[in-house]
């Protein structure tokens, strides 16, 4: 078999392979963009996404990789520098129930960047049946201030690097008292 023939066959094989890959890519793209997209209410972001423009205390806060923000629980956990007991003690010793009567879950989600700094906060307010509700403004403001004072965090460590991660603190509140701090 001469060199020219071998080159011709190799080119054909590569050509067909490239075509197959392109077809597969086009089909996958079709599946992603059309076949498996709901006709209404398609989301443009993952479940954990926090819009930096709408988030609180985002100014001056920088993430290390906007394209890869993992979860606090994966794989080694992003944690508060003083541990869960330290977090609980800090919150409970600073929080004061100013005759609030609210009950529900006040969840504050935010990002811990690869340097262990916290920022980009968003607040979800729900009643004890987990339906949206509005809490007393003073209560929300107080708990947000306390939460944002938790400054030093241990960042997540993934694939030999410190990474950014989403995290949340959920306050279960009954008649203005914090009864649980999760997760």
């Amino acid at each position: 078999m001469n060199k020219k023939k071998i080159l011709k066959i190799t080119s054909w094989v590569f050509g067909v392979l490239i075509l197959v890959v392109l077809c597969f890519y086009a089909y996958y793209n079709y599946l992603l963009k059309h076949q498996h997209l709901p006709s209404e209410g398609a989301v443009n972001h993952p479940a954990d996404y926090i819009n930096p423009e709408k988030a609180l205390l985002n100014e001056g806060f920088e993430v290390c990789n906007e394209q890869f923000i993992c979860q606090y629980y994966n794989p080694e956990r992003a944690t508060y520098s003083e541990g869960k007991n330290g977090l609980r003690n800090f919150v409970l010793s600073n929080y004061k129930n100013n005759s609030y009567t609210d009950s529900g879950y006040l969840n504050i989600r935010f990002v811990i960047n690869c340097k262990g700094e916290a920022g980009r906060y968003i607040i979800h307010e729900n009643n004890l049946d987990l339906e949206p509700q509005v809490f007393n403004k003073d209560l929300v403001s107080q708990l947000f201030k306390i939460t944002s004072k938790l400054k030093k965090w241990n960042p997540n460590y993934v694939r030999d690097e410190y990474r950014d991660s989403y995290i949340y603190i959920s306050y279960r509140i009954e008649n203005g008292n914090i009864t649980e701090i999760l997760p």
Partner: protein
């Protein structure tokens, strides 16, 4: 003749509807499968699940799967909305699972117990095991969360006795012994607490920080501080080796931390 035409037309419409319905169900399953090719909670995963729901809203699976990333990420109202839909469609399969979620992710012990009890009603004379454990085990934990020791111990006893009878004591989930021991300890019944804790230590070859920690606490109450110190030292070693009770995603009930162990050690050392 006219009546026959009407019958034929009705039959055709029925067949068409049936065929569309079947096609939609199959397409929905395809979207569900496609969603599973992507990480939970990603854009592609959520959109494919939404498509699966759109095509066949009667299938509980995409409803439940849609709810989970929101459960883990602290967005309760979206979890709740979708999880409830899954239960409306198949309570037998998912009501216990929702109870498990209420128990750990929301610490809503009463709602958790209500779900476990409802599951008993749906499947009478059968002990369900959502997330791999008996509802009695879960109820024992939920009642401990409420500090209702009587009911907590009742359900742990029920779970442990049944498991022991049917498969042998070594098949009992070891945290069943731990939590029952804690319930007895907090209920100020140290003898029964010690019995349960000793079972835990037996089946963990004495390498479980929580077991040795509670044993040290009981010995401290009995003024046996020298012996207590030995156990707290073992607990510290166990903890460093990673042998302690904890859960993924959320803190477990009565979770112990290194500082708790060190604090007890300091107290015991001072008493020496």
């Amino acid at each position: 003749m006219e009546t026959l035409q009407k019958y034929c037309l009705s039959l055709l419409v029925t067949l068409l509807l049936f065929s569309c319905n079947k096609d939609n169900k199959e397409a929905s399953l395809r979207s569900l499968k496609f969603s599973q090719l992507h990480y939970q909670g990603t854009k592609a995963n959520l959109n494919a699940l939404a498509k699966a729901i759109e095509l066949d809203a009667t299938n509980e699976d995409p409803w439940r799967e849609y709810s989970i990333p929101f459960l883990k990420r602290g967005i309760p109202h979206i979890w709740k909305k979708h999880m409830d839909k899954a239960i409306e469609r198949n309570a037998k399969e998912w009501q216990g699972y929702r109870g498990y979620n209420y128990l750990w992710f929301y610490r809503d012990y009463k709602k958790a117990i209500a779900d476990f009890n409802a599951l008993d009603t749906i499947t009478p004379n059968f002990i369900d095991a959502p997330q791999g454990h008996s509802v009695d085990y879960w109820r024992g934990i939920a009642y401990l969360g409420l500090n209702d020791y009587k009911n907590s111990i009742y359900y742990f006893d029920k779970y442990i006795d049944k498991e022991t009878k049917e498969t042998g004591e070594d098949w009992v989930e070891m945290t069943g012994f731990l939590f029952r021991g804690i319930a007895h300890y907090e209920n100020k019944n140290d003898s029964l607490a010690l019995l349960s804790i000793n079972k835990l230590l037996k089946y963990t070859n004495n390498t479980y920080a929580d077991g040795n920690y509670y044993k040290a606490l009981i010995l401290e109450k009995r003024n046996n501080n020298d012996e207590a110190l030995k156990f707290i030292d073992i607990a510290i070693t166990n903890y460093k080796d990673g042998y302690y009770n904890n859960r993924p995603y959320v803190e477990t009930l009565r979770q112990i931390y290194m500082e708790d162990l060190l604090l007890l050690k300091e107290r015991l050392t001072k008493k020496k």
